[in-house]
Amino acid sequence: MTQKPEDIKVIIATDCGSTTTKAILIQYDEEKGEYRQTYRGEAPTTVESPFEDVTKGVLNSISELSELSGRELLDENNMILKKSSPSEGADIYISTSSAGGGLQMMVAGVVRSMTAESAERAALGAGAIVMDVIASNDHRLPHEQIERIRQLRPDMILLSGGIDGGTKSHVVDLAELISAADPKPRLGIGFKLPVIYAGNRDAREEVSGTLEEKVDLVIVDNLRPVLEKENLGPARDKIHDMFMEHVMQQAPGYKKLMEWTDSPIMPTPGAVGAIIERVAQLYDLQVVGVDIGGATTDVFSVFVDPEDEKPVFNRTVSANLGMSYSISNILAEATLPNISRWVPFPIDERELRNQIKNKMIRPTTIPQTLHSLAVEQAIAREALRLAFVQHKSFATTLKGVQKQRTIADAFVQTGTEGTIVNMMNLDLLVGSGGVLSHAPRRNQSAMMMIDAFRPEGITRLAVDSIFMMPHLGVLSEVHPKAATEVFLKDCLVYIGTCIAPVGQIKESKDVMKYSIDLPQGRQEGMLRQGEMLLFPLGVGEKASAVFEPTGKADVGAGKGTRVETVVHGGVVGLILDGRGRPLMTVPDDKDARIQQMLSWLENLKVYNMDELKALGRA
């Protein structure tokens, strides 16, 4: 791309998903001096037979965009009109892709919790689905590891291991495993599988000697040059390059699509990660983003590492947690009692199981009744919770790092297993995916996110309005200003702010005194344990607030310490969550539990309460 950012006024971005291709139009508003997303078009993806050409779906979605906007975007040859004028064309066209299963990778490293984990982080950060992790200590015999590589047929392998100047023998052993497996790529017969080596630089020669003839070997800087530091950038960049050069070249129609785009095509999750990372960096925020899909749930986070005080981006894919194809796995992992605790009316096990299995065999159906909506949202809470638990266990400080101690540490020796996810420091929680973005009421999205993620202290909540984070991720590589402006103004629908004191307070006791200067007047009162309150505060509105937690509660400044702050509104408003953290346990008694749920749901205006209570009576 040779255009200067200031010359870019009209942008077309597409995301080629497995089922639909989504196009958005972003235009520069001369009057306001800002970029805004204006139109959105959608068409079925055409990567599978009978079309086997991804560009057909792309053109269809852009045609829809053209019709909706009244702007000519395609010429008579059905090519994107480049160079914009007031009524036609676009300055740049960019795209992401997850069609055909996205980028599927295997990673290998010497120790599972060290270089192999760093390699996994690099691959996930680049937007790949990590099919398996091979490590010297994964308790599998060499023939099992070879068999696994052959079976999975990844698009790419990332091989790492050893610090610079560290072990060579283990890394060469891993290279020999790959060589023995002689893996073939998933797409493109006759092509060599791309293998990126990002391990001990002293072992490069031996690794080259072992793999050169069998695979397309690329060597980059070690992703763990010393154990105290990760250097994931070179490996991530090379994964993107190889994705373009090898994987995309083999997918139907992608060669043509690559010629059209003004920036390399990014894997969809990689693009989502990119925009979250950029926004976090730009506005100095600690962010969690979640995309709950039908088959998988992606969680992205940017948190400051307490060890070196630098923001760290992490992404995890929970491949077994999704709202349609994988919905039965949620039941298996979360167990029935955990799901039914969120259902605000009596439901028997058989009924719940039937609904879950029906959703699995009819994945495209959406809830038509309040009953099925409430059940689906109960399941979503557990899927999100489990995905976040997995994310927290992955987003940890580096392991195997030397510690310096003083005598004061005698009784507080912490290990390196600790997660860097500190919910008290979380500034923004962004939800995405059908169940969150398309919930009939935003209050439902808010409640689901609060129940699943359990934000602590003061946290802003938002949802991705029309799932345009992938588009903005790839745009952020070309035009960061446009991407961040659209992200904050059009992509995110601010739900409001959740204020959740941390601490375990006894039932019905005082948790926090609050005083909020709302536009309609000051609201003062006492939040009690187990209570949830909602105050209206619209999108773009701010309110000064003073929170005085009781001795055992903490809203971010320490136990019992008063906090004066400005809180932001949203479509739902301000939510005061007095259920404590860890979240109070719901009563075992079914009636008491339902009463408890109903009081929360009523206070937060989550459902039509008359209908919901009628369900309970029925």
Binding site: M114, L227, G400, K403, A410
Partner: protein
Amino acid sequence: MQTSGYRQAFRILIIVMLWAATPAGSLGVEPEDAGTGLPVIPPMNLVAADTPNDNGNGITLRWDCPPGDDGSGAVISGYVVLRSENSREGYLETAVLGPGTAKYIDNGPAADPVTGEKIHFIRNKPYYYRVAARYASGYRAVSGASGPVQGRAQWFHDGKIPVLTATVLFFALVILYIQKARLQGSELYVRPIAGMKEIDNAIGRATEMGRPILYVLGLGSPEDIATIASYTILARVARKTAEYRTELIVPCNEPIVMTIAQETVRNAYMEAGHPDAYSDDMVFFVTSMQFAYVAAVNGLMLREKTATNCYFGKFYAESLLLSETGNIAGSIQVAGTDEVAQLPFFVTTCDYTLIGEELYAASAYLGRDPLLLGALKAQDFAKALVMILIVAGAVLMSFGIDWLLEIITVRM
């Protein structure tokens, strides 16, 4: 005077009662001490009984001192305890006691006045007792006989019921927790010990760095508990180094410790499925001299550039020398010792330190053996109980309430 008449009548009444109460064979009672004018009364209500909670080598005698005994010796200069195997005759002196004495445990020999022979107290033999009060004026008033009574051994010392209760409770807890550990398996919660959790990472670090791991068993003898605990941890470390294919170095200070360590490491390598990777040279004897050993191990650390150093066992003055060298060499260090004096040195120089009993707990933590886990949990529970009793006792005693103290006091 009226008062004097009452006193006289009272004296006569006592004399009559004593006369009536004196058994046949009494050595006689003088009616009145000529010096003081008081009646000469023998010790009253003599009771001889087997001494409780002993091994049968004593009989306890109790009596009431005559009214004139104020403990000063002015009226009654003392008492003589007499013992016989026959109620009527053959009483021998076994003890001479001071004035004011009202209790005596007889377990000593009696001297035969004729032969001078010492006749020892014999368990389970019936004896009769009398106690004579010796008046300062020279009179001697002897009580009636009490007996027969035998010195018998007791099965249980009832003053130690709190000890029995605590013992029963503790063993019940051990059995309960062992059962629980068996049922719950590895799910039984044991507080994670950061040092133990990090051992895997420390071995991983050595593997990634391509450098060896040093394991020091300390200067203890093979029978020291700390050394025994260290073998368990060594087994775990060795199993991991076998799995990770990382070099392990175990320099020993004691030949027998070396032999046991060799066996431990060999077994661990076999269990890990890599017996071929084991070599006797991994575990070797250096020297028995403390500082020569330190010099050798420090040299090893610096030459071999060990990535991870483990110190588990008994350590003395060498602890800081070893761990400081390791720290300077940039190794991850994990230490554990029950030598309290050495802990500050380890804490400041090592990445992770197992404090005191954590070293023993480590074996349970690593092995997850129900027996060890159950015993560990029971010990923790018992310690918690003791702490609660101490606090509760202190609080109650502060308010003058002593029933808790009464319950838990052991009477010897």
